[in-house]
């Protein structure tokens, strides 16, 4: 029998059927009837096999775990079930009831792992794949799958870059990077590579997640697989069982005081201003002459933006698997208010999964998952002037939030002679009054029909569709602004952005399993077509007569530049095949190949081929290891494969004409058009070839299991808009260039230090070391500059780049003797390293004094998950960390602006004031104005770069399961869960050391510019209480 590729459920089902067959041949002796219930973790185990040792007598448990069997005293019952440790119980004369508790098996080698286009018994897997069961993630009170996976996967770095509800998860498998294509993995939900947002999927719908890391595992996904693939399988009914599960949690979120960026209070700020004018020899403005008047009167603008916010989730799961129908229905409501004023995220989700066996040979199935997400986040994140939080952070603490009547103030501006060059609206009003709402309705549907004409052969056709309708509405009334220096009333602006996405995929797959003696084969072949279409209509209107009516027709002006309608399409056609072979499940071999034709590639380079091969050797099945008392399992794996990244934009290969370059003659506007990009008919995918070697080791009956992988991969043909001299009239040429090398080590260990019937402790820990180096860029180009970064041949990607701070010019001699900036350096100003040795400090061009000043990538990342069960209690602790990564504290350009135009970090109190009073050496003199202070502020330098290593206690959950329950309730559990409980970090620039600015089109964020801290939405600490009831 060879069922290697059946799913876990199918294995159980087949086992069940076989046993039914066995029962008919049981014989009877001098026996009595014994009965009992088989349970595990308080839940009945249906379908468990109960055998009388050494006989043909056996039975399986029913839906409620009950069994009844004839057995004589002195005989032994053997109770077994896939995934559990087999137990033996002696039959004693006179005792007729034997309730047996099965323990989860410490060894999961017999488990089935979801792989690309199928599943495989874990023992026989030759690729690098890590699976997580949905159950393990159930208690974490967060909205998205990626948040739940933090710390659990070796080789997968997951950072929460902003606390905006439902957003900002950055998932990177094996450090993969692209210059301009995306770096997010491909998400495949029930076989369908989705085009929408993975974060909008209710995590409670998930049965199992498989993360495919090496090329042998991913290459069947061809031109989209280079960033790794995450396979998500949604819930199905358990064999023979109907189950109703209600999971509810509610709680609150808060931004801890500890870890917030320390800013000056009102008195400190006034003191700073006073000193500023004194040091400059200027008269101190009246309002700052007596700083003590502000004592205890601080207006903490940032703190006022934050609030304690509720979070609630309801999930009802009904599954049924009876006779020919297997159904799962999951209904969820998730409601999260944000910790920043007037932000919230709601999700209503429903999923109906049904499989139906029409006959022994034909199965059909339909999954439908409609989903509604409402997200309201006024412009919290962003740079100075655009992000409300950043603006609040650096607003003068002497400016009142509330007026004497306790109402929010409207507008704050101090007299011009106080250095208050920017006017500040009330940011609380900004948060309250500006609408920024996105409503998303999406439906994900999978259907299939499968025909098994003969044993081992399956022909399967699937049709999948995804629609996503997103309606964005933003309205900035005339009474509010998210920007500094905008007078109120301002011009009211509305934006409506409606995006309709539709994608369908048809796949046709044939698989054939065959065993000849000890030779086991599987052949898979298929072809598929997928298309995507996006229709977008964006209308921007401004100058409203009445803020209460933000309709388009209510606007006096339609902003043509901001009004767009457009269509984006792509299509992908593929053929793929795989051959799997093993001999005695000991020598393992897999080869696969996919060919992708993509509309995104240039006309002369339309098809890409992505082959892979892998081998495995189960050493522990060899004679020399077979009876080793310590080593219970050993497998060596090796794989090589090629994958692609087609995230290169839809029409990148075309020369596009911009026909809105209008011009005017006299008073007549005339249309204008020009070619704005260059054509490249050879444009293609990014290619990643990856070699992986791994070791799986089980010790002491697999009580300790260990996985190690080493990988090395080269990404070539990077899609890059190669900058070309603009004497050509163009800024860049889209081309496939360069090479990046990645390599790394991953270690994962699973251990069960204690495993008794009352107390069980299991530990899962992982650590990953990921490295990269740029081998080549385009010919003639050895570096690409970002605003604060450089990507340079021979160095790791995206390094922080700027001037190296040596200190401050201590005194006149130091200034005279050191290289300086002509016209700008003074005593006490920032002293920079003369890297090129030309005697002056220069900034800009290839031969200036800039150098690499920091690395946004960690030396290693790690995670550890501890699970404990003690009688009815359970507990888990999840933690993860990152070591050696640095952040660019970008917000210092405002929060440490030494001209005193903004509120400042508290550390700026201890700045250079005179040679006798040089301060802590972090911040320089304020004297000389922008000409002097501007160097420190505007020239990227090492003063901005700080260690952002962290260790975060992600989650602690404590639960209690009630065993004595009314008949109608199978089990009930209450639990308390705390998320993001503590962050240990030397980073002082803000509460979230995982922050990384998303690309804002201004040089902050983006692939070449990682690790920018612009004081975005903080990640809250969440405490919730939940109930989980099974009926």
């Amino acid at each position: 029998m060879n069922n290697h590729y059946l799913s876990k459920m199918k294995v159980r089902l087949v086992g069940f059927l076989l046993l039914m067959f066995c029962i008919s041949v049981t014989s009877f002796g001098q026996t009595q009837s014994v009965r009992g219930v088989i349970t595990s973790e308080g839940e009945p185990v249906p379908g468990a096999l109960v055998l009388v040792k050494g006989t043909q007598r056996g039975t399986v448990t029913d839906i409620d775990g009950n069994f009844s069997i004839e057995a004589a005293a002195g005989e032994t019952l053997v109770v077994s079930f896939v995934g559990y440790t087999t137990k033996e119980v002696a039959v004693i004369g006179g005792q007729t009831t034997y309730n047996v508790t099965l323990d989860l098996s410490t060894s999961d080698l017999s488990e089935v792992v979801v792989v690309g286009y199928g599943s495989q018994i874990k023992k026989e897997v030759t690729g690098s794949i890590q699976s997580v069961n949905g159950k393990e993630l159930a208690d974490l009170p967060v909205s998205s799958i990626a948040q739940k996976l933090q710390g659990r996967l070796a080789g997968v770095q997951i950072n929460q870059t902003t606390g905006r509800p439902g957003q900002g998860m950055n998932v990177r498998i094996r450090g993969q990077l692209s210059v301009s294509g995306g770096s997010a993995p491909l998400y495949v939900v029930d076989g369908f590579p989705i085009t929408g947002d993975i974060n909008s999927i209710n995590p409670d719908e998930i049965e199992d997640i498989s993360v495919l890391k090496d090329a042998a595992s991913t290459s069947l996904y061809g031109s989209r697989a280079a960033n790794g693939v995450v396979l998500i399988t949604t819930k199905k009914g358990k064999a023979g069982l109907t189950s109703v599960n209600l999971n509810v949690f509610t709680g609150f979120q808060q931004v801890p005081e500890q870890g917030r960026l320390e800013m000056m209070n009102a008195e400190e700020f006034a003191q700073f201003k006073k000193e500023y004018y004194e040091d400059a020899g200027q008269p101190v403005p009246d309002v700052f002459q007596n700083p003590a008047q502000y004592r205890g009167k601080t207006n903490d603008w940032y703190g006022a933006m934050l609030e304690t916010a509720p979070i609630t989730s309801y999930n009802l799961t009904v599954t049924s698997n009876k006779e020919k129908v297997n159904t799962a229905i999951i209904a969820g409501v998730f409601d999260q208010k944000g910790v920043v004023r007037n932000t919230d995220y709601e999700r209503f989700s429903l999923r109906m999964n049904t499989d139906y066996a029409i006959s022994d040979k034909v199965n059909i199935g339909v999954n439908v998952a409609p989903n509604y997400v409402k997200d309201n986040t006024p412009r919290t994140d962003g740079s100075r002037g655009t992000g409300i939080l950043f603006n609040a952070l650096h607003t003068w603490p002497v400016m009142p939030i509330y007026d004497e009547e306790g109402e929010l103030t409207f507008f704050n501006r101090f007299p011009a002679n106080t250095g208050n060059i920017f006017a500040y609206p009330n940011w609380l009003r900004s948060a309250d009054e500006i609408t920024n709402e996105t409503l998303v309705v999406s439906v994900l549907a999978n259907t299939y029909a499968e025909w098994k004409p003969i044993k081992g052969l399956s022909v399967k056709s699937t049709f999948n569709a995804e629609t996503r309708n997103s309606r964005f509405f933003s309205f900035n009334p005339s009474t509010a602004t998210s920007a500094i220096n905008v007078a109120i009333p301002t011009v009211a602006v509305s934006v409506r952005d409606d995006i309709e996405d539709f994608s369908w995929l048809n796949e046709n797959i044939v698989t054939y399993d065959k065993s000849i003696g000890d030779h086991n084969f599987q052949v898979l072949g298929g072809f598929s077509n997928q298309t995507f279409r996006r229709d977008r209509t964006r209308v921007q209107a401004d100058t409203y007569a009445d803020d209460r009516l933000p309709t388009i027709q209510g606007a006096l002006n339609i902003n043509r530049g901001g009004t767009i309608s457009g269509v984006e399409e792509w299509s992908l056609t593929s053929v793929f095949s795989r051959l799997t072979y093993n001999f005695k499940s000991k020598y393992l071999f897999t080869a696969s190949m996919r060919a992708d034709g993509s509309s995104r590639f240039g006309a002369d380079n339309r098809w890409g081929v992505f082959p892979s091969t892998s081998v495995g050797w189960v050493l522990s099945d060899e004679g020399f290891l077979a009876d080793n008392p310590t080593i219970s399992f050993t497998k060596l794996r090796a794989s090589y494969g090629v994958t692609g990244n087609n995230n290169i934009g839809n029409y990148t290969s075309y020369a596009l004409v911009n026909n809105t370059i209008n011009t005017v003659f006299g008073n007549t506007i005339v249309p204008g058009a020009a070619i704005t990009s260059l054509q490249n008919n050879n444009l293609g995918w990014e290619t990643t070839s990856q070699f992986d070697i791994g070791l799986d080791l089980g010790l002491w009956d697999d009580r300790v299991s260990f996985v190690y992988d080493f990988y090395t991969k080269n990404t070539t043909n990077l899609l890059y808009a190669v900058q070309i001299p603009q004497e050509s009239g163009f800024t860049n040429f889209n081309d496939n260039i360069g090479e990046i090398k990645f390599w790394g080590h991953e270690f994962a260990i699973n251990a069960i230090p204690v495993n008794t019937s009352n107390f069980r402790w299991s530990v899962n820990a992982n650590i990953s070391f990921n490295r990269n180096e740029v081998i080549a860029l385009a010919d003639g180009i050895d570096r690409v500059y970002g605003q604060f970064h450089i990507t340079q041949v021979g160095k790791p990607f995206g390094q922080f780049y700027g001037l190296n701070k040596l200190g401050n010019y201590a005194n006149a001699e130091d200034l005279a003797d050191s290289p300086k900036i002509p016209g700008r350096s003074t005593v006490g100003s920032i002293k920079l390293e003369d890297v090129n040795g030309d005697g002056v400090i220069t900034f800009g061009g290839d031969n200036d004094d800039r150098t690499i000043i920091g690395n946004p990538f960690p030396d290693f990342v790690y995670g550890i998950v501890n699970n404990f069960t003690f009688k009815n209690w359970d507990a888990s602790i999840t933690a993860s960390g990152s070591e050696g990564n640095e952040l660019y504290m970008r917000h210092l350009f405002s929060t440490a602006n030494l001209d005193g135009v903004f509120n400042m970090v508290r550390r700026a109190r201890d700045r250079f004031r005179s040679p006798e009073n040089p301060g802590a050496g972090i911040f320089g003199t304020t004297v000389g104005g922008g000409n002097v202070t501007g160097v420190e502020r505007d020239w990227p330098n090492s003063n901005f770069v700080w260690d952002a290593s962290y260790f975060t206690i992600r989650n602690i959950t404590l639960g209690y399961t009630f065993k004595k329950l009314p008949k109608s309730v199978k089990s009930a559990r209450v639990y308390a869960s705390g998320q993001n409980l503590w962050v240990f970090t030397p980073y002082w620039g803000g509460s979230n050391p995982e922050v990384s600015m998303q690309d804002n089109g201004q040089g902050d964020g983006g692939n070449l510019s990682p690790g920018i801290d612009l004081a975005g939405y903080p990640v809250p600490r969440t405490i919730t209480f939940g109930v989980n009831v099974n009926f």
């Binding site: 920017f422 011009t663 058009a673 190669v722 070309i724 009239g729 002509p822």
Partner: protein, 503 residues
């Protein structure tokens, strides 16, 4: 194995039939495959070739050629940093290393000029392959040739030798070209203009605002004068003067486009076209020319807007005491060109500061105005002609032309007589007549008077910073590297040098 072969065969059949499925052309955007096919396409392409002129005149020219002279300076605001790009131009301290500079304005001027060149190259390379009305085609070609010549003339004056792109770039390897020597660049400019003149319509026939044959002649004259080809300049300018299509406006302030009705007036030879409103074709140079910080109340009377807002930062292109002093007694142009505004928030003493008034015109929305910016006016045609004649020794013929300009300004006839005196009179007249029209630096440069004029100017700034709008604050003095880079040409932009193997 047989199965595998069948699979491959069926797969290959499948591949050939799905090219259609994989050909997805942009639905909502034109691409090269569908453009440059008819007259309308070329008309639009020519219109787009004018477009960079707005950016150049609104944002760059005055920095590179007016504030980089003794005519204007900046109003130091010590609270603002990141102003060295502008200050370096005014202070003649543009940093240079290995023949390149990181100055952002130099870079953007370069890029905008080459944008014009690329767009016109595209037109000129393809227009003869498409059949349509010959006269229309000629007029379009003439405009494209003029714009290309104008862009190269700007580059030649700013940089000297530059890459000479005459055909559109199609692949990456063609993007960079070696520098062509300055004379070769001038030769190409002349070729283009000589070809353009007969193709273009004259002012009477051409749509107002577009390039005319008169504009092409004036530009060519300027090109000749820059090379001291005086006779050629005289020859090419004569028809402009004799055409009768140009006159001086009755009063100096009417020479500028002020309001919509006065755009492209009888004095206008070529001006860059703007229009106020939401079409994105507006200018805001008036705002850039304001001393700061200026409050809404201080700004409103100048701009006449109904939503005036304060502006912070450092004010640029502020008339120097030198230009204010350069006007003769009774010169009507002085008050027409320079206004004064009181800034309560200024650190300067006095807080009343001059600003460029000559383009001033009321408009409705803050930071959005529609005045055109002059490139060539008939007054300059007269002064060009006067100069060309005087340099050929025809001083007597030159003087009446000079006086024509002076008389409109309310001034008596010039007292200069000999060739050298008249040369100097014309030079001075150009300074005041064309003040703030971005001519001053080029006049100093082409007459080789950089050392003679800029060095003493620099000494005056350093000796008396308060007069040059430095605030009376300790440390607010000219930086120690001012007036150290008096080169005739700007260094090549570093960002372009990084990408080019040739410089």
């Amino acid at each position: 194995m047989k199965k595998y072969i069948i699979g491959l065969l069926s797969a290959s059949l499948f591949l050939t039939s799905c090219e259609d499925f994989l050909t997805v052309v942009p639905e909502t955007q034109l691409s090269s495959a569908t453009f440059f096919k008819n007259q309308n396409d070329f008309e639009q392409a020519v219109n787009a070739a004018y477009s960079p002129l707005r950016t150049i005149t609104n944002d760059r020219s005055w920095l590179l050629s007016e504030m980089h002279s003794d005519n204007t300076y900046y109003v130091r605001n010590v609270l603002f940093g990141a102003v060295d790009n502008q200050e370096d131009l005014a202070d003649f301290s543009v940093p240079e290393s290995n023949g390149t500079t990181a100055n952002v304005h130099v870079l953007n001027q370069w890029r905008q000029d080459y944008l014009i060149i690329a767009r016109t190259n595209q037109i000129l390379a393809l227009i003869d392959e498409v059949n349509f009305d010959a006269a229309v085609k000629g007029n379009l070609k003439g405009q494209a040739l003029f714009l290309r010549a104008y862009a190269y003339f700007e580059l030649a004056r700013y940089f000297g030798s530059v890459p000479l792109h005459l055909t559109p770039v199609a692949v990456r390897s063609e993007a960079a070209l070696d520098l062509s020597p300055e004379p070769a660049v001038y030769a190409q400019i002349e070729t283009d203009l000589v070809a353009a003149i007969p193709l273009l319509l004259d002012k009477a026939a051409q749509q107002p605002g577009r390039v005319t044959s008169g504009a092409a002649r004036t530009l060519l004259a300027n090109v000749y004068i820059n090379q001291k080809k005086w006779a050629e300049a005289e020859q090419v300018l004569s028809p402009v003067i004799s055409s009768g299509q140009y006159t001086l406006m009755a009063s100096y302030d009417m020479a500028f486009s002020e309001n919509a009705a006065n755009k492209n007036n009888a004095e206008s030879v070529f001006e860059v076209q703007f229009i106020e409103g939401a079409a994105g074709l507006q200018g805001n140079f008036m705002y850039q020319f304001m001393p700061r910080p200026i409050s809404a109340a201080e700004l409103q009377p100048i701009m006449g807007t109904n939503n005036a807002q304060p502006i912070d930062g450092e004010g640029n292109n502020i008339p120097t005491p030198d230009i204010i002093a350069a006007y003769e007694e009774g010169d009507l142009r002085k008050d027409a060109s320079i206004g004064y505004v009181f800034l309560a928030g200024a650190f300067q003493d006095p807080k009343t500061l001059p600003y460029i008034k000559k383009f001033e015109s009321a408009h409705s929305q803050h930071n959005n105005h529609g005045m055109n910016f002059p490139i060539y006016r008939y007054a300059e045609v007269l002064l060009f002609m006067a100069e060309a004649l005087n340099e050929q020794g025809k001083t007597a013929q030159a003087i009446p032309l000079l006086n024509q300009v002076r008389s409109r300004a309310g001034l008596a006839a010039t007292t200069a007589s000999g060739q050298a005196d008249v040369r100097e009179a014309i030079f001075k007249e150009r300074r005041v007549e064309l003040a703030f029209e971005n001519k001053r630096w080029f006049d100093i440069q082409r007459t080789d008077r950089i050392q003679e004029i800029i060095v003493p100017f620099g000494q005056r700034v350093v000796a008396n910073p308060r007069a040059y709008y430095y605030p009376p604050i300790a440390g607010a003095v000219p930086r120690n590297n001012v007036f150290t880079n008096l080169n005739k040409f700007y260094a090549y932009p570093a960002a372009e040098s990084d990408l080019s193997p040739y410089f």
